[in-house]
Structures are given as C-alpha cells and as structure tokens.
C-alpha cells in the first residue's frame, strides 16, 4: 500500500478546521499539519480549495446481493459509493433471501471484505422480514451486526416492535425503522395530496409515516431501547423526533437526499424514477427538511440507494418498483442544501460522523471486522478520508454512473460540489473524480 499525501486542503476536524496537509502511511493517518515533508514515492493529491474530512458512511444502501445482482451487486455498489465519497456502506437486509441469519450475513460480510469499501450489514429484525417472529439478533451481533431493520417495510405489529426493542436493548445494538403504516399507505404510489388526486394516482398519506413515528417514539419511551428512524420525509416527522430527543429519549434520524431536493410535483411526468417509499412530499416538507439539516436537527444524511434494473423502471408508475439511486450524488446535494455559506463541520457531521456513531463504526467503537470511520482526522486513525471540492459544478449523466442501474432522478441536473478523491481502507480508490 503506497503512501499518500493530501496537499493544502481545509482539514475539517470535529470542532475546528485548518488549512494543511494530511500524510497517510500504511493505511493510517501518519501526520496532519500546515506543511508536511512527504516520504519519496508518496502519491500526491492536490486538495487546494477542497475540504478534507472523514470518508462518508451511508447508513442505508441496497446492494441487492444476493438475489438481484442484475440491478447491483456488492462490488458495483462499492464503486458507486467510492465515487460518491463513501468509505463505508451499511447494506440493507431486504435481499433475496433476506439477511436474517448468520449464514446470509456472513456471506455479505465476506463478499464485502473483498470490495473497495467497508461493507457493514444491517440484519433483519424479524424472520424473513415478515414482522411475525424475531430473527436471531444475538447471533448476528456476534458477527459484528450493530443495526437491525426490516427496511423496505416497517414492523407493523406494535407488540412485535415492543418485543424487538426489549430483546435488542441488552445486546447493545440499535433497531432502525422504515416508518409507514401498511394499512394507511395501502396501494398508494406517491404522496397523498391534490397532486396525486389530479394525476389519478392513489396516495400514501403523510400520516402513515407520522403515526408510526409517534408510535415508535412511545415504544422507545416504554422500553428505553435506542431507535433510528430511516428516511424521514415530512416536516412533522422530523419535528416529532427532534422533540423526543429533546426529552432525552435515545432516538436518531436520517433524511435522504431525494426528500430534501425533490417534491411531489416531480411525479407529474409519471416517470417512475420519481417513485419511492416513503414518497416525495410537499414543497413545504422539502423546505423544512433543508432547514432541519442546516440547524443540526437531523443526525445523518443517508442515501437509501435503491437500484432497479431498467426494464422494471420502464413499467407504468403504479407497477414499477419504488426506489432511486443516491450514492454518487448525496454529497453534492447535501452541500447544496446547506447553502452557500455551507459549514464544513455540519457537512461531515451529516455524511460521516453522525452515521458512523449510529452504525457503531467509529474508531472508539468495538468493531469486529471493519476499520474506523467518521474520525477526527487525527494521527493513528485508519485512513478513511474524502477530499471534496465544494466549488466545482457539473452535470449528471445517467449513462455515466458506476452503478449497474440507471434510475437516478438527477439526470441532466447541475450539481454543486464533487468528490475529488476517496481513500478507503488506506487505499486511493477515487482520484480526480474517477475510480482508480
């Protein structure tokens, strides 16, 4: 593994940022300072005008392997993540078969160990994600799983969710919930509003999400177990979680870039690339989520990267599967949402340090197999670093993606900010904005 030196970027620490160089030797940060003498043979990376910070951690990626490798697999997903500045991905368990036992979890961890990034696994809460019987969380935790979710769906039965929280609490793991009441959301395909009515599409009301958020906040209060709320999409959901956190409850939340960038009006073209669960919401919700990001009310940005083979997304709106890509564009969209005077501290908190805490992938966490992420950029830390240029603008071309799939809603959009270099597990995997 060759040495790497990053030159003259803004090194964004946990509480302060300083202009300087970062030297990486043998996969670890060897030195951080205003000007470093690099050893000969070290790869030089120009980081002028860039932010240097801990590599991003995605709490919510659908890698589709095993079962749907045509849409994405662990390697292609890792490459897409690297381009997006990610050094760790948490793979969601709604694969086929589901990641609800040690055999399947072990498989994904093994495959992930050979990819460019650190691939962590979120195990299922219930067997088969059917919401009826507990999955062997303790056995999966012994392999290093720290997050559990039935994502794709939420756990519908409140007594089951209560028992899952009670069971998980002493194990030191965190449950995560996709909040949508199935009965209220029913066969809806976009947000329920005058838009859906006008378009003749059945709607998924905001209450389907908010009711489960309310329910689960109370279950957290009852059981004392920590809970992470996945892809919150409405103003009210975020406000509820913020209030709960203010009461001292152990709750965290994430928002996805599409929910703070696009609103329900995008569905007017019936292009199923805009179909997602929970759906794109109102303009008011989008504005509220952006404000929440800036105010530090949200703990993490998570992509909910959901690849689908092109032939599936070419179906009619109500027949197509829900989900859109996100890994390669999340950072840019986050920088944009934070505004012109974007605070780099907040940027890395949302994309890296916040999620690393929730996923228990930080240097101080007891990690079974992965390296440390979301660090302070201090000497000795594992080298999981991203160099991000906040000033460059570029245009998205859906045919130029590292992902195997093409279902990005940002095709043709002008992006502000781009990843220049990614160092994952000590290796330079992206340089000059392209995979090495």
């Amino acid at each position: 593994m060759s040495d790497i030196v990053l030159r003259q970027g803004l090194v964004v620490g946990e509480s302060a940022s300083n202009l300087g160089d970062v030297l990486i030797v043998d996969g670890r940060i060897a030195e951080v300072g205003p000007s470093i003498d690099a050893p000969s043979g070290a790869t030089e990376i120009d980081a002028r005008d860039c932010w240097i910070g801990p590599g991003f951690v995605d709490l919510h990626t659908h890698l589709r392997e095993p079962g749907r490798e045509a849409a994405e697999d662990i390697d292609s997903g890792a490459r897409a993540g690297a381009l997006g500045g990610y050094t760790a991905l948490v793979a969601m368990p709604n694969t086929e078969p589901a990641l609800d036992n040690v055999a399947m979890v072990g498989y994904v961890l093994e495959r992930g160990a050979r990819s460019a990034l650190d691939i962590a696994v979120a195990g299922a809460i219930t067997q088969g994600r059917r919401g009826e019987l507990l999955a062997p969380m303790a056995e999966m935790a012994a392999l290093g799983v720290r997050l559990f979710t039935d994502d794709g769906v939420g756990v519908q039965d409140p007594s089951m969710m209560r028992r899952a929280l009670t069971y998980a609490k002493p194990l030191g793991v965190r449950l995560a919930q996709h909040c949508e009441d199935e009965l209220l959301a029913a066969s809806g395909t976009m947000n329920e509003s005058s838009f859906s009515s006008h378009l003749g599409l059945v709607g998924r009301p905001a209450l389907a999400e908010e009711l489960m958020v309310l329910r689960d906040i109370e279950l957290v209060r009852l059981t004392g177990a920590p809970l992470h709320f996945l892809h919150l999409s409405t103003e009210r959901s975020v406000a509820l979680v913020a209030a709960a956190r203010g009461e001292g409850l152990p709750v965290t939340c994430e928002v996805a870039p599409h929910h703070f960038t696009l609103d329900e009006s995008a569905c007017a073209t019936y292009d199923s690339v805009f179909k997602v669960h929970p759906p794109l919401r109102t303009a008011g919700d989008v504005a509220a989520l952006r404000a929440a990001l800036r105010a530090g009310v949200v703990d993490a940005v998570a992509t909910d990267h959901a690849p689908h083979a092109p032939e599936l997304k070419d179906l009619a709106f109500d027949e197509a599967p829900a989900g859109m890509l996100g890994l390669e564009h999340a950072a840019s969209l986050t920088a944009e949402a934070l505004g012109g005077q974007a605070d780099p501290q907040r940027f890395f908190q949302l994309l890296s340090r916040g999620p690393a805490f929730i996923a228990q992938l930080r240097h101080g966490d007891a990690r079974v197999r992965h390296s440390g992420h979301g660090g302070a950029l201090a000497r000795g830390e594992d080298a999981n670093i991203v160099v991000f240029d906040p000033g460059v603008t570029w245009t998205v071309d859906r045919h130029e993606l590292a992902s195997k799939s093409r279902n990005t809603p940002y095709d043709g959009r002008t992006m502000h900010g781009r990843v220049r270099a990614t160092i994952a597990k000590g290796h330079l995997v992206v340089s000059d904005g392209i995979l090495t």
């Binding site: 009826e132 507990l134 062997p136 303790a138 056995e139 028992r163 009670t166 069971y167 002493p170």
Partner: protein, 328 residues
C-alpha cells in the same frame, strides 16, 4: 405475613415469613429420615383424605405429592384431567364441590390459570389448599424443595446439620437464576424463598424474558451473563418452553443457548463449589448441555428426591395442624 402454615392453606411463598419457611424446611428433615427407612410410612395423617387435582399435565409433581400423602397414611383421591368430566366443561367450582361432597381434608391443585388455588380456597374454606402450580404465578413446594436442597448440601459440606443451621447458609449466598423468568412460577417461588431467607439473587435472561417490572423485584438484573456465572454460588436454570423459543419472545432455541445456555464451555468457568440446579423437566442442549447435567456440580437428582419429604412436611403441617376430629 404468615408465620406458620400449621392448619392453613399454602398458596404462595410471597406470603410466608422466614420463620414459616424455616419451619417447613426443619420439618422436612424428619421426613427425609422417614424416607430412608425400609417402611417409609408414618400414621400421621391416617384417616385423612387428600385429593390431588391436576388440571395441567405433570406426572412427576403429581406422583411426588401422592407419594407424600400416602407415606403419611392419608387416603388419596387422584383426579387427572384427561379422564374427568372437567374437559366437558364442568367448571372448577363444580369439580371441587363434587369432590368436597366426598369429604376431603386437603386438595393439591395444579391449574393453568394464575390464582386458581386462591379461588378454590374461597370455594371450600374448610379444606386446606396446597398450590401445586397456578399459571404463571407460584409453585410453592418447588421453591421450598429448592431451598431445602441448597441448605442440605451446604450443611453436608461443612459437616453440620441443616436443622441446626437455620438460615445461616442462605445469608449472603449468591444465587443466579437464568432463563424465562417472565413466564415462570418456579422463578417467582424461588425468588420469594431465597430473598426471604437472606440470599442475594441475580437474574440473567434475554430482555424479552424478564417481566416489565423486574426493577421492583428483590433481585439484581445481571448485565453480563459470564460475569454472573463467575459470581454465583448457586446457578438455577429455568426450562425454556419450546413455544417461547420459537420466535415470539426469543428468536430460536439455538440463539437462546448461544446467549444464555449453560454450555460445557460456560460450565468450565464456574467455581468448583458452585451448585447447578434445575426444577425440571430439562431441555438438554438448550438451557443446559447434556454433559453439564451429568457433571457432579449438577444436583438435580437431589432436588427430585427432596420433593417427597418437603411435600410430606407441607401436608403434615397444613392438615395435621387443623382442629378437627380425633382418630385413634
């Protein structure tokens, strides 16, 4: 608080004072001796009628009670639900009334509903009711024979008599109870006995197998199972019923064994003098590995054999202590 069960029903160990419990343990010592004779019988309850009503299947406990009654020379009426009219919908009250019409002095009752023993004692207040296990609530004689077994073995080790030791062996004794506390009447009775006698009790279980209000119980919840095993002087394992271990409360039997089973590896970390107990029946390979059952630290056989003397003591104290009738 009840200071003695003489002439009373025995419904729950929660209600008994330390004196009441010690009285039963001391009385049981005499019956241990009776059980060693070649003629294992005394005429103490001659002419009395003891009915055993087991609405829940349990061959072992029922036989233990019936043996105890017979060794006291009582007449035993045995009702096993399968062959009775209770299955056809006759209520608990009617069953009791029918049997009572035959003139019974005591009834030993096991029922799947918590509180059944108390209810029966209200229907037939002149009859001594011995709770043989009611729903999830209590199993007093199991708690008593477990405490008796501990005292007996610890007394043997120090070359003293259990009888003379009173509660000395329990004071500060470290007892760990493992498993499905939530659904276990044995756990409730054990904890009541051990706490009353002065022991320090810890519990270890998956979160879903602890009752919600465990913080109010006279126990400490162990956060690390392996540390708790090293701490314990006595480890009591509870049976995990298969329906509980099939995903509703615990994902699987194998995960339960992984987190809380007394495996061979874990048993090796126990101190050599630590006792291993189990109220039975055991799920070998789930809460306890087979080889651990067969080790010398496991005193299950003693528990089983102490069942009869304890039940004789209970029957003798409750029935003979009543103030009715004299016989020659």
């Amino acid at each position: 608080m009840i200071d003695s069960i003489r002439g009373r029903s025995l419904l729950s160990l929660d209600e008994l004072s330390k004196e009441a419990i010690v009285e039963i343990l001391d009385m049981a010592e005499s019956f241990v001796e009776v059980n060693r004779r070649s003629i294992k019988k005394v005429p103490a309850l001659k002419g009395r009628v003891v009915a055993s009503l087991f609405f829940e299947e349990s061959t072992r406990t029922r036989l233990s009670f019936e043996t105890a009654a017979k060794r006291l020379s009582a007449d035993v009426l045995s009702l096993a639900v399968a062959s009775s009219s209770v299955k056809k919908g006759e209520s608990l009250r009617d069953t009791i009334a029918t049997i009572d019409a035959l003139g019974i002095d005591a009834v030993v009752l096991r029922h799947r509903s918590s509180g059944a023993a108390l209810q029966v004692s209200r229907y037939v207040p002149h009859v001594r009711v011995i709770n043989g296990g009611d729903g999830l609530h209590q199993h007093p004689t199991q708690g008593l024979l477990d405490a008796f077994t501990i005292r007996q073995i610890l007394a043997e080790r120090t070359g003293t008599s259990g009888l003379e030791s009173g509660t000395a062996h329990f004071e500060g004794l470290r007892i760990l109870i493992v498993g499905d506390i939530r659904h276990s009447r044995v756990a409730r009775s054990d904890i009541a006995a051990y706490a009353t006698l002065g022991a320090h009790v810890r519990v270890a279980a998956p979160g879903t197998l602890l009752p919600e209000d465990i913080a109010t119980w006279p126990v400490t919840v162990a956060t690390d199972f392996d540390d708790a095993l090293a701490w314990a002087d006595v480890v009591c394992l509870l049976r995990l019923q298969s329906e509980r271990g099939s995903g509703t409360f615990v994902p699987s039997l194998s995960e339960f064994r992984f987190t809380h089973g007394l495996t061979v590896a874990r048993a090796r970390t126990l101190r050599p003098e630590t006792l291993i107990m189990h109220p039975g029946p055991m799920n070998r390979g789930v809460e306890i590995d087979s080889r651990v059952v067969d080790s010398s630290a496991c005193v299950v056989e003693r528990q089983v054999s102490n069942g009869v003397p304890i039940r004789m003591a209970v029957l003798y104290l409750t029935v003979a202590g009543s103030h009715e009738g004299v016989q020659l």
